[in-house]
Symmetry: C2
Subunit: 240 residues, 2 copies
DNA sequence: CTGGTGGCGTGACGTTGGTCACAAAGGGTT
DNA sequence: AACCCTTTGTGACCAACGTCACGCCACCAG
């Protein structure tokens, strides 16, 4: 079997092992078969751009493997990273449904496997499969929810420190690390990228991390970060 | 007929004159009849709270008359106004679909007429009416789109002036005033509320308006604002 | 008229954090 | 080793803006 960019291709959604765990993949077999017939399994190298904000919607991208960076950017080049999409996520969904331009830019940061579905095919699929349509509504609610959290973090924070603390706590809650006394997390992003996630400058992120380390709140072990004082971090995240 | 809070109640969605113009109201008669049977026509005075962020979703609120302020607020009381909802808008939709808590707070700023539908009834209605389900997906896309714009405005702006310029331009584009040489708009909000919309302080808004007037970019005529120099405003909105 | 209240205008001041500039530390390649 | 290139660390400087403080005006009730 061909295996571009070092990926093990998932051939069919019907036999996909991760099917049950994922919102959009978990559909009755009849719908999945229909989906199967309109999807294009594709693969991208690291750094590929799936779509750019402002572009007319070509269709949806179901992420099967790898991570994708979702960002918006200003005319002057300043960019804001909204989230790093993980496998199972559907990208370009809202633009495809509404017909408006993609509202953000999607760029792979790993080699990725993606199922692409053309807009026309997808809309027809939704008309025919009411249960899929409901799943889409659920997915969109999820996305809206995330966007609201983003708005809250950006709009109601008093300082960059507060936003960084929020981000670290959110990351640690991803993998269930949050319940532990001293959560650990892999810092897979550069300071520059972290800065773009919280809407501040690279230097500020560096300084904030230095400060957190000095105050014994976090500790770096290679590329993993140990949160030594969860309470202090939470206090920073809520009181600004 | 009873007419609480000085409203002329719209009795039935089937005979509603505004039906065609509005996304959610524009459904086939069969679906509308089903909707009719599960909705509760209600009325609220000015200042009533439809739901609070964090609350478990009780159902959706279709706004028929009046305006509703949608906001999120921080633990310290600082609030951010996301938008002022106009008639035709469906409130609490995403939370009702996903089952997660309402992500924002809805408070009437006029006497309002509202059609309320309980969550259970609404979900059953969606299962039965695929076309309604698709409408919901469209509505959610719309909301997501708005949220993305909000994120962009908040996260990628360099200054409060830029955000205010963006807001004024957006307001003027609502009523088709934007095409005119010198668009006019009603300032229905206080400086305090405008500040809460762009995430800044009341004093800053006052100062910004004073500056805009001094530079002949806008002009106040009573409670209406005339934009005298659209170009300058656009420049402020894009170049920060 | 008088007092109360809510919105607006404005000065002074201090902090935050963006920007520039450069140094240091890795990490990979030749 | 010498060389890149990327990432991180740090100091200096300054504009933006949040905050406090207060005065003014309009409106309304008694």
């Amino acid at each position: 079997m061909l295996s571009p960019y070092g990926l093990d291709i998932i051939e069919s959604c019907l036999t996909c092992k991760m099917r049950a765990e994922r919102l959009f993949c978990d559909l009755p077999t009849s719908a999945l078969q229909a989906f199967e017939s309109i999807k294009y399994a594709t693969a991208y190298p690291k750094g590929a751009v799936l779509f750019v904000e402002g572009q007319a919607p070509r269709g949806i991208f179901v992420l099967c493997k790898g991570r994708v960076k979702l960002s918006i950017c200003a005319t002057d080049g300043k960019t804001l990273i909204l989230k790093i999409a993980e496998p199972g996520e559907v990208l370009g969904l809202s633009a495809t449904v509404s017909g408006k331009p993609y509202e953000l830019t999607a760029e792979t940061i790993d080699p990725c496997q993606v199922n692409f579905v053309k807009r026309d095919d997808f809309l027809r699929f939704l008309k025919d499969h009411a249960d899929a349509c409901f799943k889409v509504a659920e997915q969109l609610s999820e996305k809206y929810n995330n966007a609201c959290h983003e708005v809250r973090a950006l709009g109601l924070s008093h300082s960059a420190a507060e936003k960084l603390a929020k981000l670290l706590l959110e990351w640690s809650s991803r993998n269930g690390e949050a319940v532990k006394q001293e959560p650990r997390l892999k810092l897979a992003l550069t300071h520059e990228e972290i800065a773009q996630m919280i809407g501040t400058s690279r230097e500020t992120v560096t300084r904030l991390f230095a400060d957190l380390k000095k105050r014994q709140i976090v500790q770096a072990k290679g590329s993993t970060l140990v949160i030594r004082n969860k309470q202090a971090l939470k206090a920073m995240a809520t009181n600004g």
